[in-house]
């Protein structure tokens, strides 16, 4: 393997691992904003307990998000120095805005959110929670803007050539609101909210049949389910809109997602399949014409196939195809879980149904896999470009970084990440087993209830 491939694996590993946590943090932050909002409104300490419990899970995923996110800050310059010089002028302003507007908001107020329960009035604490949630969402916004610019560049001009080539910013708002930004942002955020909602559903469904924390679980469950149902449906709309943008601006990516080698006006939708790039064939269960209808809304405008482009401009077709389809299957899983949840809610059979409950507990895996698979589709589908039609990935790597260095750091990251992931699962499980009634440590003051008289505790 050459340095570029190894560097790509390293980037995929570090960003893929990082992306396990931010969606969970973003999704849970929305849940906490809702729960604490109800608590403030009703002054009902039960909702306070709910908010505190989800805040604990949030803290865990936030800590890992910060730790793994730091790596991303350096990753561009470490292995992709030519790319960094090329995009710095354009890309940097989005990252700077993220740092100043989003990170500080998040990191500044998270201390108050986690440690401030006894320190400040409920209203002020709620303000901190909202700031953290807003910061987390805003942070995603800038990152998606920067990445979307790499998919559909806008608001720039190219100066110089060869290794001196640089993109210069000409129009900031055109750069941020590049053609794919809004659709991709919506898609990403809905993915995050689904992650939070299914975490809540999964934990609640874990407690219910065991008759533990029943009141807590039902109240959490209700909100988790509402968000999950709404978002599963909205994600379908967003997916359709995103795919049409891909078809318009990145036709090779769309062709690879569905394995379309020949331009045709009755392009099929493949349900399951396998692509053999060398023989240009797709073995699949197909729905004829469906892709055509989805992309063009008719059966006579052709869908552009890979044959319109030289093979040097193709991504690895089967990899894009499989990760894209994996994402769709995961959506199917979430859809099923949401429907099951609704049925059980209606019949009030949360405690009884056995196998469907197990399915619901397990359902938390779907959004995580879908998030990862979605990003793999987006990034693998963009290949061989690192910036669409402007710079090839092979041109962007650091010339001074050799194979040994990348292998060394790759091993280092793998070891640390396996270790961190094991810890995360261990502590997550611990927090869930302890539940919302967790005991305080010796010597601690208890959470005060600001709506009760001085000295009383909840």
């Amino acid at each position: 393997m050459d340095v570029v491939t190894l560097s790509r694996i390293q980037f995929a590993l570090t960003s893929g691992f990082h992306y396990l946590y931010p969606p969970l943090s973003i999704g849970l932050s929305l849940m906490i904003v809702i729960m604490e909002g109800i608590y403030i409104k009703k002054k009902d300490p039960r909702y306070r307990k709910i908010a505190i419990f989800w805040t604990k899970l949030f803290a865990l995923s936030f800590a890992l998000g910060v730790a793994t996110g730091l790596v991303q800050l350096f990753a561009f310059g470490n292995n992709w120095s030519i790319y960094s010089r090329f995009v710095g002028d354009v890309f940097g302003s989005a990252l700077a805005a993220e740092g100043v507007f989003a990170f500080f908001l998040e990191a500044g107020f998270v201390g108050l959110m986690l440690f401030g329960w006894n320190r400040v009035k409920p209203g002020i604490h709620y303000l901190a929670t909202i700031c953290v949630a807003f910061g987390a969402h805003f942070s995603a916004t800038w990152i998606v803007a920067a990445n979307s610019w790499m998919q559909t560049p806008a608001g720039y001009r190219i100066v110089g050539s060869g290794s001196e080539m640089r993109a210069e910013l000409t129009d900031f708002w055109a750069m941020i609101f590049n053609p794919s930004f809004l659709d991709r942002l919506t898609h990403v955020l809905i993915g995050c909210w689904l992650t939070g909602a299914f975490m809540v559903i999964s934990v609640s469904e874990y407690y219910l049949p065991k008759k533990r924390h029943v009141d807590f679980a039902k109240r959490s469950m209700r909100w988790g389910l509402i968000i999950a149902v709404v978002m599963v449906l909205l994600q379908l709309v967003s997916a359709d809109s995103s795919a049409r943008i891909v078809a318009k601006y990145q036709p090779t990516k769309l062709a690879a997602m569905e394995g379309i080698f020949e331009t045709t006006s009755d392009a099929p939708m493949n349900l399951v399949g396998w692509v053999d790039q060398s023989s240009r064939s797709v073995k699949a269960i197909k729905v004829p014409g469906l892709l055509n209808i989805l992309v063009n809304r008719d059966l006579h405008t052709p869908v552009v196939g890979l044959d319109q482009y030289p093979e040097t401009d193709w991504p690895k077709v089967n990899m894009v195809f499989q990760s894209y389809h994996l994402m769709i299957y995961m959506w199917g899983g979430m859809c099923l879980a949401a429907i099951l949840g609704l049925i059980m809610w209606k019949r009030k059979t949360f405690e009884k149904a056995k196998w469907s409950l197990r399915f619901m507990v397990f359902s938390v895996c779907f959004p995580f896999i879908a998030n990862e698979a979605g990003w793999f589709t987006a990034e693998l589908g963009r290949q061989p470009w690192v910036v669409w039609n402007l710079m090839r990935t092979t041109q962007g790597a650091s010339p001074s970084v050799d194979k040994g260095m990348v292998i060394g750091s790759l091993i280092m990251f793998s070891v640390i990440y396996i270790f961190l992931f094991a810890l995360f699962i261990f502590l997550l499980n611990r927090k869930i087993q302890d539940g919302p009634e967790a005991k305080a440590l010796k010597g601690d003051a208890l959470y005060r209830n600001p709506y009760m008289a001085e000295g009383e505790v909840t």
Binding site: V66, G77, V100, A107, G108, G111, T170, S398, S400, L441
Partner: protein
């Protein structure tokens, strides 16, 4: 002309961010380095919770430093990250381990669990402090980059006696800073214990500061070129000395807050001296000075500066305002409650 002003302003913004990072995360790192000098679990929790609500926000300044470099001086960001590849990997490892150590340490009652994370937290802090020093030392010394800004050195080349000395300076200045911070945050028996740490830490810092200053003047004479040209800049060096003297002066008299301000000023002035010595280079080439990346030959364009100066103009005052507010909420002596680490 206007671009030149923008370059200088952005250079100063990066400088201010470096100072903010080292002053604020400096005491977090110092507390981490001192962590293992405490004995009981309760004391260690006090140490952690003294920085608990703020360390995360403090670390964002490091992100700002590199983010601001990426946007304002893309070639500098690219060159520093790709040249210092392994040093940055070490820094990242330290930052990651330290972040999870703080977060995870008190999540289990087990003594081995807590001991392990205590050690991780402390080692992580030492590694970060030392690596930052070594990085600074290498930037003073110069980096072997050729005319295409490509690194031509080796990992071993980063560790010369001089850079290690600057690394030690990094550790000692943060330890002093952290000890004085803990003075402000503790009371009773713990406070007395912390007080005993302060003097040795100040002595260690002053010793490494004098050693670094002398070696720099003797072996890195380019660092005082600017001062030779404009002699009134020597005031900064004199000021630094006065400020350093003030740290023990106030610390032994029990004026903990004032001592902390002077300790923060010490760090600030160290970076002012660093800036005066390296200006206008951001990455100095040790192969040929004409290959160096300066703030004038490696910046972003006017269009970008316009955007980011607006962003910084709106964002930074906001950040400082609510940062100040959060510090005020958590001011005073640290105490433990159910939400603590």
């Amino acid at each position: 002309m206007v671009l030149e002003y923008c370059q200088i302003i952005w250079y100063l913004i990066i400088g201010v961010s470096v100072v903010m990072y080292t002053v604020l995360d400096g005491f977090d790192l110092g507390v981490g380095c001192l962590h293992l000098f405490t004995k009981t679990d309760n004391e260690r929790r006090l140490m952690l919770n003294a920085i608990g609500p703020v360390w995360d926000g403090n670390e964002v300044w490091l992100i700002i430093v590199f983010g601001a470099m990426f946007v304002g001086f893309p070639p500098v960001y690219a060159t520093i990250c790709s040249s210092f590849y392994f040093l940055i990997m070490i820094l990242i490892t330290g930052l990651m381990i330290r972040a999870v150590a703080i977060e995870f340490r008190s999540k289990q009652e087990s003594r081995t669990w807590r001991k392990t994370w205590d050690v991780m937290f402390s080692i992580g802090s030492f590694v970060i402090a030392f690596t930052i020093g070594v990085l600074m030392g290498n930037i003073i010394k110069g980096v072997p980059i050729d005319q295409n800004e490509i690194f031509r050195g080796s990992f071993a080349g980063f560790f010369t006696p001089y850079t290690v000395l600057v690394g030690v300076l990094g550790v000692t200045v943060f330890m002093m800073h952290g000890a004085i911070y803990m003075l402000m945050k503790t009371e009773g028996e713990m406070h007395e214990r912390v007080r005993r740490w302060v003097t040795p830490n100040i002595i260690a810092f002053v010793a490494s500061y004098i050693a670094t200053t002398v070696t720099t003047i003797v072996y890195k004479p380019h660092m005082i070129n600017l001062m030779k040209e404009t002699p009134y800049l020597f005031i900064v060096a004199v000021l630094a000395m006065l400020v350093i003297i003030c740290v023990p002066f106030f610390a032994v008299r029990g004026k903990d807050g004032t001592a902390f301000i002077f300790s923060s000023l010490t760090i600030t002035l160290l970076f002012v001296l660093f800036g005066l010595g390296t200006y206008p280079d951001m990455v100095r080439s040790s192969l040929d000075p004409s290959y160096s990346l300066t703030l004038y030959n490696s910046s972003a364009t006017m269009a970008t500066f316009k955007v980011v100066l607006i962003v910084a103009g709106i964002g930074v005052p906001l950040v400082l305002a609510y940062g100040y507010w959060i510090y005020r909420i958590f001011r005073g002596k640290v105490s433990l409650d159910e939400a603590s680490y």
